[in-house]
């Protein structure tokens, strides 16, 4: 056992120590300790870390997933496994084209795996009805299009689609869920505005409200902060943390910015060229070695109170690949 209190406190997973989260924080702390113990041995075997460290129970599991787009022979993700832990924020990071979004689509059953299965709470997602899956698992795609003239509130009501039958009217619980989602996403003041009149950041908040109205246990977000200004980026990440802390929602989020992932996520999955290169807490994953091998940059990593801080130095030429 090499874990000492100082590394523990600085790891991303143990930052949330408000009273209401005491029990889970204790769990995570335990998990971190466990993982710290295997840290030394993992350097050589980064792709299968999940089994080496018992953590909180998995809710969404991808087993030996091979994912490819229709009409293409080359799989984007080649036989990878991933167990998303219940009630934590997991960030998928990796360079462009590493398969982050593809993995997310595979987990959401938007892309049928060529091989392998995705289990949500032990059940194959492919065997759940489309609406039943959508009541448990929400996915916000990277680029969402909508008519310009739809209002924020109308958009958010569409999030209730999986909860309504073909002929069902809007019920009281729909109204409540929509109201809550709009409040949580902090776009109450935009309720009546048409989407076409909003800024990129405001639009993103509206879409997040829509997926929140779906009222799912698991939320998959594909690059929700890309192209947003810093204010909206922080707002989005704050929503994600609130969901975890107050509603026990499991969030898997693709993030372009690894430093953002280090700061806000409890677990990081590093992907490179369709392979899972590492899985663990931010301090375990965000290392100079990983930045060099996965992101091909030379960088200095300092562990500060907010988690690892990255100072990118220069790109490493990839003549060997």
């Amino acid at each position: 056992m090499t874990a000492n209190e100082s590394t523990n406190e600085s790891s991303g997973a143990t930052r949330k120590n408000d009273a209401g989260q005491a029990s889970r924080t204790a769990d995570t702390r335990q998990a971190v300790r466990e993982s710290e113990s295997s840290h030394a041995g993992r350097e050589s075997d980064t792709s299968r870390v999940t089994r080496s460290c018992p953590r909180s129970e998995p809710i969404l599991v991808g087993e030996d997933l091979t994912l490819a787009y229709p009409g293409s022979d080359e799989p984007v993700i080649g036989g990878e496994s991933l167990a998303v832990e219940l009630g934590v924020v997991t960030a998928l990071v990796g360079p462009n084209g590493s398969g982050k979004s593809t993995l997310l689509k595979g987990l959401a059953d938007q892309l049928a795996p060529r091989d392998g299965t995705v289990l949500l709470e032990g059940r194959d997602v492919h065997e759940l009805g489309t609406k039943e899956l959508a009541r448990r698992l929400g996915l916000l795609s990277q680029e969402s299009t909508s008519p310009e003239s739809i209002t924020v509130e109308e958009l958010v009501y569409h999030g209730r689609y999986p909860h309504r039958g073909f002929f069902d009217h809007v019920t009281e619980s729909d109204h409540r869920a929509v109201h809550r989602a709009i409040e949580l996403a902090g776009c109450g003041h935009l309720r009546e505005r048409e989407l076409g009149s909003l800024s990129g950041g405001q639009k993103q908040l509206a879409w997040i409200a829509m997926v929140l109205a779906q009222d799912t246990d698991v939320l998959l977000l594909d690059e929700p902060t890309t192209f947003l200004d810093l204010h909206h980026q922080l707002q989005v990440m704050e929503i994600v943390e609130t969901l975890r802390d107050e509603s026990d929602i499991t969030v898997v989020v693709v993030l372009h910015d690894i430093e953002q992932a280090a700061r806000h996520a409890d677990r990081i999955v590093a992907l490179d060229d369709g392979e899972i290169h590492g899985y663990g807490t931010p301090t375990e994953i965000v290392t100079e070695e990983l930045l060099a091998t996965v992101f091909e940059i030379e960088a200095a990593v300092d562990v500060v109170d907010q988690g690892p801080r990255i100072t990118p130095l220069c790109p490493i030429s990839s003549s060997d690949s």
Partner: protein, 376 residues
């Protein structure tokens, strides 16, 4: 009707106001204006149609002939009109109004309604601003069958309405089958529709060469550009049931259209069985288009522009859009038919020519005026 989201008012509804809010979107000022204006156009157009012709009446005579209580409240008369029974004795003017001229107006209403609704649905299904009821091969399939019937199988002319409608529906199924490869998408559908349309269109044009009678050619042109000449209660009886079904389903399906407009990925992640919904909605749209083809031939342009005109006023919410189309389609069609029947009196021209001229001109005017016209 299903799928009622509060579109007008603000916060969450509670208690007795919920019912009012549920239908609140119907009272959107834009929608109400569109509905009232369209109804006015239909009534005025109908009055003109009833007044003028070989047997002329003054508008007040026409008005009284139409509102003649002996006809309006006569079950035997309605039995004759809607079920094809014996027409009872009535005043000459009422007979002309009710048995000759009004049915044509009603057919125009039915055709306009069907085409507008069909076009609106296809624009959502294909997410394409240029979609019309005929984008997935319906018109070319119907057109080919019309030509085949008139030129080759002359003995089947009595069944032409049904053959044309069936030809359109079969062409749609062929297009869908071609576009299907473990699922489909709007681009594949539209491409397949254009290509099947081109192939069938060539065959149709080729068949014109084998028409040896100018009467047959004129008849073929009337059918392939759309005409209401000679329509009466029989056409109303033929198309009305399908129209009721298609429009009803379109209203029910409007929420699905709204979700489709959020894009395929979002619709899927919301749990929509997208292939089923897309096929079902297309089926409804083809039913509507086929019903209009059966009674009026292939009237182009109405299904393309009416949804844009309505969208321009009420926005892209399909619940409002479909309701608007149910009224604006008939308005355009009835107004165009006034021109088709009376402009070159006594010669009648196919109404499809007038819809192109009237509708096209109005559409160009809108395009000049509005910068964002045509966005779905």
């Amino acid at each position: 009707m299903s799928g009622d989201e509060p579109g007008v008012a603000g916060s969450a509804a509670t208690g007795p106001t919920a019912d009012i809010r549920r239908l609140g979107w119907l009272f959107d000022p834009g929608l109400v204006t569109v509905v009232l204006a369209s109804t006015l156009v239909v009534v005025l157009g109908g009055l003109v149609q009833v007044s003028f012709g070989a047997y002329s009446m003054t508008p007040s005579e026409a008005w009284r002939a139409v509102l003649n209580p002996d006809v309006v409240f006569n079950t035997q008369a309605w039995n004759a009109f809607l079920l094809g029974g014996e027409v009872p004795d009535m005043h000459e003017r009422s007979l002309i109004a009710w048995n000759v001229r009004l049915p044509r107006v009603f057919v125009a209403v039915i055709v306009g309604m069907n085409l507008a609704v069909s076009g609106a649905i296809f624009q959502a299904v294909t997410r394409n601003e240029l979609a019309s009821p005929f984008i997935l091969g319906v018109s070319s399939g119907a057109g080919l069958m019309i030509l085949l019937t008139l030129v080759v199988f002359g003995s089947l002319t009595a069944f032409l309405p049904l053959i044309a409608a069936t030809g359109g529906a079969v062409a749609f199924l062929i297009v869908y089958a071609i576009a299907w490869k473990g699922g489909t998408n709007p681009v594949r559908l539209v491409l397949a529709g254009v290509i099947v349309g081109t192939v069938l269109g060539s065959l149709q044009t080729a068949l014109f060469f084998f028409a040896d009678d100018v009467g047959i050619v004129q008849s073929a042109i009337a059918w392939t550009t759309g005409s209401l000449t000679g329509t009466d209660w029989q056409q109303v009886r033929l198309a009305l049931p399908w129209t009721v079904v298609a429009v009803g389903l379109a209203l029910v399906g409007s929420r699905q259209c709204n979700v489709l407009l959020l894009g395929e990925e979002t619709a899927k992640s919301l749990g929509m069985s997208i292939e089923k919904v897309r096929f079902a909605l297309s089926g409804v749209a083809v039913l509507a288009a086929a019903a209009s083809i059966a009674v009026a031939g292939i009237v182009s342009f109405v299904g393309l522009i009416v949804p844009h005109i309505v969208r321009n006023v009420v926005g892209s919410d399909y619940k409002q859009l479909i309701v608007g189309c149910v009224f604006v389609g008939p308005a355009l069609m009835v107004a165009a038919d006034v021109g088709a029947r009376l402009a070159l009196n006594p010669v009648q021209i196919p109404v499809g020519i007038v819809t192109g001229l009237v509708g096209g001109t109005y559409f160009l005017y809108l395009m000049r005026k509005k910068s964002n016209l045509g966005e779905i």
